[in-house]
């Protein structure tokens, strides 16, 4: 099944729940905080923020169960925070402080917490998720394995090998593609021939494309495809047409000013703020403050201890 929803940038947004708005804005302020901390020289290493894409995992939130596995990638803070309201643990992980999710060993890109797992090699999670999905299928409880990948990651052969396997074995694998039109610095047109829809179809996977940023609408659209993943073991690719509003990692955005203006105008943050100015402003301020408190608190902690060091 392939369906395409036309561009909705101009369609009015439905009102988000307070919980949804909070989650969206928590992620936004989490990411902004990271960039600020880097700018101040208080973080080392690297990070990839999901600015502009926060709504993707938030939209998926109620569609996923606790027992589902979620595989995330380099741009995974939003994926994590949408699933687990543990910004302290995540920030501590990135800052290498006590209370870190993975003792500071994994850092931004390598998180394993309950059934959430991220890693930094693009495409590598797809075969792993297929294996997990095989186990879930055998358990027969309707669980699924959800993998987040970007458009650029469709360059990796592992994606196709895993899709093939999942379709052959009818595995409950949900591939969520955040198609933001760019991979690091390379536009999708320079790295992907054909379309994601056609690629899914070619491997016998269902495909659903949405360019909505409206959480409620997205959930309506996706409920049925996700149900079929669970109940029919039908591997499915969900393609979000989205935008990366920030740099790839830190300060490495080489897109033109026009391009950035275009991208920023479509930011969910701008559009929700315009559509629901009062509730938005209040929620925004609340999450900004929450994040500021979290940051102060975590920054004051001692360095993490790696108890399981080999």
């Amino acid at each position: 099944m392939t369906s395409t929803i036309l561009d909705r940038d101009t369609v009015p947004l439905s009102p988000p729940s307070g919980e949804d708005l909070d989650r969206l804005l928590l992620i936004r302020h989490f990411e902004l905080t990271l960039l600020r901390l880097f700018g101040e020289g208080r973080l080392n290493g690297t990070t990839h923020t999901c600015l502009g894409q926060e709504y993707v995992p938030v939209a998926l939130r109620p569609l996923l169960d606790d027992d589902d596995y979620v595989f995330s990638n380099h741009r995974g803070h939003g994926h994590f925070l949408a699933r687990h309201d543990e910004p302290h643990g995540l920030l501590a992980e990135i800052m290498g402080r006590e209370g870190a999710l993975c003792a500071g060993v994994g850092g931004s890109q390598h998180i394993y917490h309950r059934r959430f797992l991220s890693t930094g090699v693009q495409g590598e999670s797809m075969p792993v998720a297929a294996g997990v999905a095989l186990s879930l299928k055998r358990a027969g409880d309707g669980g699924l394995a959800c993998v987040h990948i970007g458009d650029g990651t469709w360059g990796e052969g592992a994606v196709y090998e895993a899709l093939n396997l999942a379709a052959l074995w009818r595995l409950p694998l949900l591939v969520v593609v955040e198609h933001n039109g760019i991979a690091q610095s390379t536009p999708t047109t320079a790295q992907m021939s054909g379309t994601i829809a056609a690629r899914a179809a070619a491997f016998g996977a269902a495909h659903h494309r949405t360019d909505s940023i409206d959480l409620n609408l997205i959930r309506l659209e996706l409920a049925e495809p996700v149900r079929r993943v669970r109940e029919e073991g039908r591997p499915t690719v969900i393609e979000f047409v989205t935008r990366r509003v920030g740099p790839h990692s830190k300060g490495d955005d080489t897109r033109s000013a026009e391009e950035l203006t275009r991208v920023r105008a479509a930011d969910w943050y701008v559009r929700y703020a315009a559509a629901f100015p009062e509730v938005f402003a209040a929620a925004d301020e609340a999450q900004r403050l929450r994040m500021a408190r979290i940051t102060d608190e975590v920054a004051a902690r001692p360095p993490s201890v790696w108890r399981a060091a080999p």
Binding site: C102, P127, A130, G131, V132, A133, E161, W306, R307, A308
Partner: protein
Amino acid sequence: MSVRISEGTPNAGTPATGAARTPRMADHLNAALHTLLESDPRVFVLGEDIRDPYGGAFKITKGLSSRFADRVLSTPLSEGTLVGAGAGLALAGEKAIVEIMFSDFVTLAFDQIVNFAAKSTTMYGRPVPVPLIVRCPTGGRRGYGPTHSQSLQKHFVGVPGLSLHELSPFHHAGELLTHLLSLGEPCVLFEDKVLYTERIFRDGVVDDLFRFDLVGGPSGWARVGVPGETRYDCTLIAPGGLTRRALAAMRALLIEDDLLCRLLVPARLYPLDLAPILGDVTGHVCVVEDGTAGGTWGAEVAQALYPRLWSRLTRPIGLVSAADSVIPTAAHLESAVLVGEDTIRLAVREALS
């Protein structure tokens, strides 16, 4: 398709007496897999063409899919993904054994093994169990040519979180597999393709000259020697695939050159556990392996032994390996490149002359 298991019933765990004919390694390993799948409902086996009636390129998985249809799965030609899927199964609480049809193709799974399966055990700050065995039919001497004959052990030495093992005719395959799955970390298991066709040893008996015993547990060492002897002119250290060639060399060295050798065969190649055999290393030390020269497993053994044996060593540790060369297809060219019984004998004789 009926199940053919040469060790009798799949449960047959009791070794035959020394005098009886022992099973061939292929059947022994096949029986071990039958037992494992039967006793542990969490064990999966994945690989190319492993289902019946084909039963795998080397027939090691024969009969398994007929008995355990939903846990023994033939995969497409996707080495990276079949290993990755094994790791996924392992993460999800299952235990996975995956077969790479020819170990040469494990290069296609190098990322999944090194960067995912091995790292996952520690990079999340706490121990994460990944019970996964990557079975690798290995080695030359069958004329399969440059891309189907390699011994790639050395490329996997020193990956944090990964251990390397090799089948030997001394170690019990079933105990080894069970042990590896209990480690909670991915293991690469090399299996010499010629060894498949050879009979295993049991009850401490090798032949009329040599006896063996086992120390250090299921992945420990087999110690082969002449009964009653404790001081040897030379100690050979070699993975299981070399056994027959090493034994033949030892026989010739003893009978024709009057040189007494002992052979030490570890099931676990890495990490090396030298403690159980350190006292058994006497005379000249020579590490023998099938991989090509350079960056060898033997170099790792040697660097671990030098400091420990420093005061006892009278000459440098010898390393015997295949030539620094691709492995040619034609038999006469292949044998010139690979380690043969003569290569070993010559190396020992030269060192001791």
